[in-house]
């Protein structure tokens, strides 16, 4: 692995702090409180999933961490530095991929390094490595529109991982994929994580996905979102989806979410 931003911070220590975060959307007609007093510490190298009722404010949280949206109050800091602007220290993977259609797979993966002024040779080499890691070696020079949904998202993953950001924000990254592709992608993400120790905040609607991937699962309340419960999952990966522990935990989280939805009316 080339020089990695993350190496400055020790594995397992807190480095991303969300402190009393609050977000109110103000439009001409109405005010929507999306996030209410949300405090959460994220540790270096963990994969933390966020689950919650539809429309509770998950994307809002992620966009604020990315610096694409300003908090109404409260702060988000990485290593003490506030996340007020987007930057290459926080990568993002989008549900609908958001790949640049006029670029090839390789050129998409190189984008972050290109804007950072990384020399061509190094860019190529690093991109090559990540394209291989996500299994798209034979498609490096393909156009994005020639790829299937699963392949597109692998480009999205490579494009974010190749820059070694402090944290990668994934907003329902596999939500647009069919069930089978989705399982394959989850397994592949687990394999990639073994090699990279990348910190990831992962939003999903699938509780099974959250339990399969995460070191911790954050359950949010209905809107305005705040933390209902944080569940540690200290099991090794890859995990057995059919194992009794797995099934029991999945059921418990589903029940918690169910309660939120019932209260939602």
């Amino acid at each position: 692995m080339p020089e990695d931003n993350n190496n400055r911070i020790e594995e397992g220590s807190v480095f991303l702090e969300i402190d009393h975060l609050r977000k109110v959307y103000i439009t001409d007609e109405s005010q929507t409180v999306a996030i209410e007093d949300l405090t959460l510490d994220i540790k270096k190298g963990e994969l933390i999933s966020i689950v919650g009722p539809s429309g509770c404010g998950k994307t809002t949280i992620l966009r604020m961490i990315a610096g694409l949206l300003e908090p109404t109050s409260g702060t988000i800091t990485i290593g003490g530095k506030e996340c007020s602007e987007p930057g290459s220290d926080r990568g993002m993977v989008f549900q609908d991929f958001a790949l640049f259609p006029w670029r090839t797979v390789r050129k998409n993966v190189e984008f972050g390094m290109e804007v950072a002024g990384v020399p061509k040779e190094e860019r190529r080499e690093r991109a090559e490595k990540y394209i291989e890691l996500v299994g798209l070696k034979d498609f490096a020079d393909s156009r994005v529109h020639e790829l299937s949904g699963g392949m597109k998202q692998r480009v999205g993953i490579a494009r974010a991982f190749v820059n070694h950001p402090d944290v990668i924000l994934m907003d329902e990254p596999f939500g647009a994929l069919d069930a089978q592709t989705r399982n394959l992608m989850q397994a592949q993400l687990v394999r990639i994580l073994e090699k990279t120790e990348q910190t990831i905040i992962f939003i999903t609607h699938s509780v099974e996905e959250a339990v399969f991937l995460s070191d911790r699962v954050v359950i949010l309340t209905k809107r305005p979102a705040t933390i209902k419960e944080v569940i540690d999952i200290p099991w090794p990966r890859p995990r057995d989806r059919a194992g009794p522990e797995f099934v029991a935990l999945r059921k418990r989280i589903l029940e918690e979410l169910e309660k939120e939805n019932v209260m939602n009316g």
């Binding site: 610096g67 926080r90 990568g91 993002m92 989008f94 640049f100 006029w102 972050g112 804007v115 494009r159």
Partner: protein
């Protein structure tokens, strides 16, 4: 697959598709010629010559030039082309950057919109006498062509910038792109299909403008001037030959733009705008 006159058409075969297209296009042109011929005979007016008379006048113009002025057809075409290309080039130079900036910066749009909305509805040709008197007879027609192409091109470029998928901008920013990098590496490439659309529309309008503008600038001696001269003198076949030349030039320019469009779209990897 379907069979016509014992010939089997396969729509997955490129040559078959081309052949089909050509047959239909030629049929269309033949129908047009007959309609023209009919109208010419029925109207029985000198002002509507038959296709054959027009063809003879065209051949004559190409071979002999204009016997009165002593200028060749290429002088006329060359003069018009010069005006046309200058106006077109100027429109590209101004409308594309301006459109990108207007589409990108809300302040610029708010500032520019009132002026644009006042000027846009004015027919380009209305400017011809003003420009030609106020500036001169070479630059005046160029500016008329410029205005004709400028507005449709500008509108398309602005639209292209606004139609951009905001997710792509978010993606670029989270990959570390600065505002100017977002502009050059995201806005411009995604606006290319819209820009080309505007260019294609503008090219046609440019030809409409030039013929009209040349009426006000006889000194230029363009093809529009020739048309007017022949019509005024009652040499209708020659006037129609001039119209035919303008039609062919128009077809050539839009055809060329179509080819460039296909190449560019292919290059940027977008299926369509």
């Amino acid at each position: 697959m379907s069979t016509v006159f014992g010939w089997t058409y396969d729509k997955h075969n490129k040559n078959h598709r081309m052949f089909r297209k050509m047959v239909i296009a030629v049929t269309s042109l033949v129908c047009f010629m007959f309609a023209w011929w009919d109208i010419s005979v029925l109207a029985n007016s000198a002002a509507i010559p038959t296709p054959i008379d027009t063809w003879n006048a065209l051949v004559n113009l190409i071979n002999e030039g204009d016997t009165i002025t002593g200028r060749s057809v290429w002088d006329y075409i060359g003069s018009s082309m010069k005006t046309y290309l200058s106006g077109f080039g100027l429109a590209l130079l101004v409308a594309i950057p301006l459109g990108l900036v207007i589409g990108y910066f809300a302040v610029v749009e708010e500032f520019a919109t009132p002026v644009i909305e006042i000027l846009r509805p004015i027919a380009p040709i209305a400017w011809a006498p003003i420009f030609i008197l106020a500036i001169d007879y070479t630059i005046g027609p160029i500016l008329v062509v410029f205005i004709g192409i400028f507005f449709p091109l500008l509108t398309n470029v602005v639209f292209g910038v606004k139609e951009i998928d905001t997710k792509l901008i978010d993606a670029a920013r989270t990959l570390g792109a600065s505002s100017s990098q977002v502009f050059t590496k995201v806005m411009i490439p995604s606006a290319v299909p819209y820009i080309m659309n505007g260019v294609k529309i503008g090219l046609g309008i440019g030809w409409m403008c030039i013929v009209a503008a040349e009426l006000y600038a006889p000194q230029l001696g363009g093809i529009g001037f020739y048309l007017n001269e022949q019509a005024t003198a009652g040499f209708w076949p020659a006037a129609f030959a001039a119209i035919a030349i303008i039609a062919v030039l128009g077809l050539l320019t839009t055809g060329l733009a179509e080819v460039i469009h296909k190449k560019l779209v292919n290059r940027v990897g977008m299926t369509s705008a």
